[in-house]
């Protein structure tokens, strides 16, 4: 017998289930597509836990709450804690200086000391940052839940039709006021001759890029950010931009295999900060924008706190 019904088995819903279980609350998880997969935007994420880099273009709450994400995930899935390397091409050196000025938590570095396999460049090292493999993390989260008897049921459900407390973590399908889609596009390359141990961000005035290494010689390239609800496949322009930036970083990427191209929509509120929206017995977890893995632990914890103790954390929103 469950105490709470969670609708939506993306990173927010699954992490909420995990947090609730930890506090002795038994969740039931429903998702119209079943367990996580290419149908949900959690599948397409980069998996960077980079609250200090993100702090350059987001509100301070993201850095503050995101700083604990690596520890929260490490209890569930392998987390690589080697930081983030931020680089710029030679002619964009000014971008590096600006980023350094606006960010905290970094040291200047020579890339060759951190990633000796890359062409050497001046850079910034955000030593306390981390990364994970999002698909592995979802699988590990599912396994942790299954070990306690919780599985994802494939079922279409509306909160109104379900009795008792409901956590609605359906993303854009929840259609909350102010929630908008922000399209993101990514590529996965297979480049076994290149060795990278940590995410690399390339600052570029037109085509900023990040590359996240994954097991088996794979590299995730991301991500565009377009104010659009289009779910059409990746555009040629975006592929050109992502691949050109990767090529500029290391010409060997030209010989890599393009294993996967993906496009999906991130749900975001106008301030791009995720919310726990309270609506009677229904609690919405939504608006994770480009911070799904970074912010899901904090968002889930605040929802669980509210449900179990009535505490209202700073992501709680009442409309």
């Amino acid at each position: 017998m469950s105490d709470v019904t969670i609708i939506g088995a993306g990173v927010a819903g699954l992490f909420a289930a995990h947090k609730l279980l930890g506090r002795g609350v038994i969740p039931r998880i429903l998702d119209r597509n079943g367990p996580p997969g290419p149908h949900g935007c959690s599948w397409w994420a980069g998996g960077m836990l980079a609250p200090w880099c993100e702090g350059v273009t987001t509100e301070p709450v993201i850095t503050r709450l995101g700083a604990a994400a690596a520890d929260a995930w490490a209890a569930i899935t392998p987390v690589t804690r080697l930081g983030t390397l931020v680089l710029a091409l030679d002619r964009d050196r000014a971008e590096l200086a600006r980023f350094a000025r606006r960010a905290t938590g970094h040291q200047p570095c020579d890339s060759v000391d951190l990633e000796p396999d890359l062409p050497p460049r001046q850079g910034l090292h955000f030593a306390a940052e981390a990364h994970l493999d999002p698909r592995r993390a979802l699988a590990d989260l599912l396994a942790a839940l299954a070990a306690q008897g919780i599985t994802v049921e494939r079922a279409e459900a509306e909160p109104a039709d379900i009795p008792g407390p409901v956590i609605d973590a359906r993303g854009l399908a929840a259609a909350l006021p102010g929630l908008r889609p922000v399209r993101g596009e990514m590529a996965i390359l297979h480049a076994p001759e290149i060795t990278l141990t940590r995410p690399v961000r390339l600052l570029h005035p037109r085509h900023p890029l990040y590359i996240v290494p994954r097991a088996g010689g794979l590299f995730m390239l991301g991500a565009t950010q377009i104010e659009s609800a289009s779910r059409a496949p990746v555009t040629a322009r975006s592929v050109l931009e992502l691949l050109s930036a990767a090529y500029a970083l290391d010409p060997r990427f030209a010989e890599s295999s393009v294993v996967e191209l993906g496009a999906d929509l991130r749900p975001a509120f106008p301030d791009n900060i995720p919310r726990v929206t309270l609506r009677g017995r229904v609690i919405h977890l939504n608006g994770l924008f480009r911070h799904g893995y970074l912010m899901a632990p904090a968002l889930a914890a605040q929802a669980a706190d509210y449900l179990t103790t009535g505490t209202k954390g700073e992501l709680i929103h009442e409309d």
């Binding site: 889609p181 659009s228 289009s230 106008p270």
Partner: protein, 253 residues
């Protein structure tokens, strides 16, 4: 004051809607800037930009859609037609990019697209250079506003060719002109207004500042200051020093 296709704007600042950290900060920047026109691009967002376009309509300002990202006249014309549908306006900022690195306008594609759009009843705001021959051709095509660049888009260099811009301003006294692109600092905007331009259009200088809202306010004040100075009839430049206190009655040895 010159009007823009019959519209007298309450303020001389036009602000772009791209590259802000969030829509909330964008809205605050608009508020702080006192901008009276919001420009918006459609090319890349086409097919799904509805939610964002609603946010822009929500600013409650006149919208000037643009054809940013178009590299041919045909693309620009198609984008302009779509913009008219989406925003229910005949205003279009016509941008036809001719060079991928400098983003400078393609004068030939620009003129071709301007002719087509003016004939279709659009009220065209062409993004152009300070070239007076091109300016004349655009006016001949039916453009009643010109938007000369200050410097390449996003470069933040300010007014790169002051002589050319002054000369263009003087050559078309009846045509309203907006300095579009290349502004990086409020002083650039003030200077453009002091030179007699009717408005400035900018985006990156505000959106990519560390504090976009503060920078928007600074630009708004600078535009007002420049316009006030222009209307106050500046004293002009002299070759010799001119004491502001009289010499008469001073000890003169």
């Amino acid at each position: 004051m010159r009007d823009f296709y019959g519209v007298t704007l309450p303020g001389a600042m036009m602000l772009g809607t791209a590259q802000y950290p969030s829509p909330t900060i964008m809205a605050e920047a608009f508020e702080a800037s006192s901008a009276s026109v919001a420009t918006v691009s459609l090319r890349r967002e086409a097919g799904g930009g509805q939610a964002f376009w609603d946010l822009i309509r929500g600013l409650g300002l006149r919208v000037l859609p643009n054809t940013a990202g178009c590299h041919t006249a045909r693309e620009a014309v198609t984008t302009a037609r779509m913009a008219r549908e989406v925003f229910q306006t005949d205003w279009i900022k016509l941008e036809v990019i001719g060079h991928a690195d400098t983003l400078q306008p393609d004068p030939f594609g620009l003129l071709e697209a301007a002719k087509t759009l003016c004939a279709e009843g659009f009220q065209v705001f062409p993004y152009t250079t300070e070239d007076q021959v091109l300016a004349q051709r655009l006016v001949d095509a039916g453009c009643r506003v010109l938007m000369p660049w200050g410097a390449p888009i996003g470069s933040g260099m300010g007014l790169n060719n002051r002589h050319g811009l002054r000369s263009l301003r003087a050559a078309f006294p009846d045509i309203p002109m907006v300095i579009d692109a290349g502004l990086g600092l409020p002083s650039h905007a003030a200077e453009a207004m002091e030179m007699g331009f009717d408005a400035v259009l900018l985006n990156s200088a505000v959106a990519q500042a560390g504090d976009p809202v503060a920078m928007a306010r600074a630009f708004g004040l600078a535009v007002q200051a420049g316009a006030l100075a222009r209307d106050a009839d500046p004293m002009g430049v002299r070759e010799m020093g001119m004491p502001s206190t009289p010499l008469l009655g001073k000890a003169w040895l």
